[in-house]
């Protein structure tokens, strides 16, 4: 059995479910565990893990999908830049279909704008090398896992003197919303499943605040079914014992201090700034903006006319992102708002809570086991 399949071994999964069920018997009340990583949302839904857990353990998805939390205004600005003559917009595939106030990048591309999907910021840098007369705007979305890759591309651009490579930063960091969520009376979280690949960069120590400040248990986990379930087991045990701890269950790639080279590159180019989260409003210090000395690389300083952002009526993405409602409680879910006709970002991104729910959770009871 290859290593990859060992992490998905059905017997190990069954064993972990049994252990979780036993531990859950000692819980004082139902436990609500929140994961804050879109890739976790998808992994959990794809394996149907939610249905394996005992009723005393509830898994909810938090604001961990960077596309979902990208505000309408960001996409509006990206669209406006795409329409600007002599501009190439390079983006991860995730953003292409996100609805803006009026259309999407996909629509703008169909109208003739040069919008290119890239797999890596390096591809965007290469586009800049190949077309020195045009301005390349790379749409920088993503959390701490992705920011270092954008910073590395910026470093390369600086080193080589590639003047036409710019970044429109929509980057955000994860700890600030987690702190903000705790203060929100609508949100009842008892423990956090923590993002494994963010932690590869930041280090598991970056999440000490979960126990030290917020007083709840946290488990840094990977993305396979056994990784997720080991995290659930650890949190349930902590809650049953009443002792909040931070455990690193992804030690095969996560170190306490993280990736120092990556952190240094990020600090060189970016500084914390206030950021707007779709559905959550402005969270202080939760975004990353290009430092003033790199203004020549900052696409947010390029003059374009951007309309007033229009939020879709009736959309309850904000509450879904906070975990205070499940997607089916939004009146637009699966009626007006579907993966083919998304209203809010939660449905557009394949990582979005609503998209994941729509694609993975709609099974008639009785059609299962």
């Amino acid at each position: 059995m290859s290593a990859t399949s060992a992490y998905g071994d059905p017997r190990a999964v069954a064993g972990l479910v049994a252990r979780i069920t036993r531990a859950a018997g000692k819980l004082p009340r139902r436990a609500t565990l929140m994961e804050v990583c879109g890739t976790h949302t998808n992994a959990i839904a794809a394996a149907g893990l939610r249905r394996l857990l005992p009723p005393a353990v509830r898994l909810i998805a938090g604001p961990g999908c960077p596309v979902c939390v990208t505000p309408v205004g960001y996409v509006d600005r990206a669209q406006a830049l795409a329409r600007r003559p002599g501009t190439i917009v390079a983006t991860f595939g995730d953003l292409l279909r996100v609805p803006s106030s009026d259309g999407s990048l996909e629509r703008v591309r169909a109208e003739g704008a040069d919008v290119r999907i890239v797999y890596s910021p390096r591809d965007a840098l290469q586009a800049a090398r190949e077309d020195p007369a045009k301005t390349v705007v790379f749409l920088g979305v993503g959390f701490e896992t992705t920011v270092p890759t954008v910073a590395a591309a910026l470093a390369e651009a600086e080193g080589e003197g590639i003047a036409n490579f710019t970044v429109l930063s929509g980057h955000k960091t994860m700890p600030p919303p987690m702190r903000a969520l705790i203060r929100d009376p609508e949100v009842k979280v008892d423990g956090y499943l923590l993002p494994g690949h963010v932690s590869v960069v930041t280090g598991s120590d970056a999440f000490r605040f979960v126990t030290d400040e917020l007083g709840m248990p946290g488990a840094v986990i990977g993305f396979t079914p056994t990784d997720v379930l080991r995290g659930v087991e650890a949190l349930v045990e902590c809650l049953a014992a009443g002792t909040p701890r931070l455990v690193n269950l992804y030690s095969r790639v996560v170190r306490p201090e993280g990736n120092l080279a990556a952190q240094a590159l990020v600090s060189r180019f970016f500084a914390p700034a206030d950021a707007v989260w779709r559905g959550l409003g402005t969270i202080p210090g939760s975004g990353l903006a290009l430092r003033p000395e790199y203004a020549h690389r900052d696409a947010s300083l390029i003059e374009v006319e951007v309309p007033e952002p229009v939020e879709p009526a009736g959309c309850r993405c904000g509450e879904v992102l906070k975990g205070s409602i499940d997607p089916p409680e939004c009146p637009l879910f699966a009626t007006v708002c579907t993966p083919i006709t998304p209203v809010g970002a939660c449905m557009v991104s394949s990582e979005g809570t609503c998209a994941a729910w729509y694609r993975h959770e709609r099974v008639a009871t009785g059609g299962g086991r």
Partner: protein
């Protein structure tokens, strides 16, 4: 006279250059009695008994040459396969090209050779063709449009109307080879073992339909992969289809490409595979028949047809005894970071 090295607008004009192209590039590779007459319409021999079947397809592919095939080979395979899975024996194909001014003739020859090879493997003739040329910038090197004529022998009646609860879902080999290969080319992923599965399937379908096994319907899972094919069948037959994740054959290289690009193999195109809906009692025999044929290596039983309920029409059974819906794709699968 040697034809020019590049396609010019005049090659589509119908005059001397067009005739040169036909004589020097198309006929040598594709010659057959009907085509060689070069008349306005190909008049064929009387059809064998049965019901005529007609299909049409258009082909664009980037890159136009890829491991395991090219635009020409792909276009003939795709057309032949549409006939084959309908239970029709291919009789004749047409092949029309829209070329972009500036296309290298050598590349065109590659497409023609590919088409000829596929036609030979399928035992079918390309009896009529056409060529137009559009100005540079107005076409992506070459587009191909085809029509395929076939005959469904008397007494044969396969199709989605015959699919019923209890049927088994069988695939003739590993999934996603074509789509993964083409995506890998586009995103600079290299893999020695990566190649399109593109192939004409008429020999395999003839074997299955001639065996007497209770094959109810067949499809070739092209764009959108097996998940999309099952949606079409579930919709037309009014059934529920449950696929077993653990039973899906996917080659390690294809899985790796999908993981790297964030794709799901169940939605990735095949161009040389059959998805067959077979009476459960004959499923094992069909798998054996397929596996014994060069076009069916790696065949496997991957799911079953059930009674439709209020939930999703196509579901995936995970290895953990849970089920989840397999939905229709909103659009083309895009590489993602999340």
């Amino acid at each position: 006279m040697k034809p020019a090295g590049t396609i010019l607008l005049a090659h589509g004009g119908g005059g001397r250059l067009t005739q040169e192209l036909v004589r020097e590039v198309f006929l040598p590779a594709l010659a057959n009695p009907a085509l060689s007459l070069l008349s306005d319409s190909a008049v064929l021999e009387p059809m064998p008994p049965g019901r005529p079947a007609l299909t049409t397809d258009a082909f664009v592919v980037d890159p136009p040459v890829f491991p395991g095939g090219d635009l020409g080979y792909l276009s003939v395979c795709g057309t032949v396969n549409d006939l084959a899975v309908a239970g029709a024996e291919p009789v004749a194909l047409t092949w029309a090209l829209v070329l972009e001014e500036g296309l290298q003739v050598e590349l065109l020859k590659t497409f023609v050779a590919g088409a000829a090879r596929a036609a030979g493997e399928a035992g079918v003739a390309i009896v009529a063709g056409d060529t137009k040329v559009v100005p540079r910038g107005k076409g992506d090197r070459a587009y191909v449009a085809t029509a395929g004529l076939g005959v469904v022998p008397p007494g044969r009646d396969i199709g989605d109307h015959r699919v019923k609860p209890g049927d088994a879902v069988v695939v003739s080999g590993p999934l996603g080879d074509h789509g993964a290969t083409v995506m890998a080319c586009r995103h600079e992923l290299a893999g020695r073992g990566l190649a399109s599965d593109c192939a004409p399937l008429s020999p395999l379908t003839a074997l299955l339909l001639g065996s007497g096994a209770a094959v109810h319907a067949m499809h070739d899972p092209t764009r959108g992969g097996i998940a999309t094919t099952c949606h079409e069948v579930a919709s037309r037959a009014g059934v529920r289809i449950a696929l077993e994740q653990a039973a899906m054959p996917v080659r390690p290289e294809v899985r790796a490409v999908c993981e790297l690009l964030g794709l799901d193999p169940l939605y990735v195109a095949c161009e040389g595979r059959i998805v067959a809906f077979v009476a459960s009692s004959d499923a094992e025999r069909v798998v054996e028949l397929m596996a014994g044929h060069p076009l069916g290596r790696g065949a496997a039983r991957v799911g079953r047809v059930e009674v439709r309920d209020a939930g999703a029409p196509v579901v995936l059974r995970t290895p953990y005894a849970t089920e989840r819906p397999l939905d229709l794709l909103a659009g083309a699968e895009l590489p993602r970071i999340c």
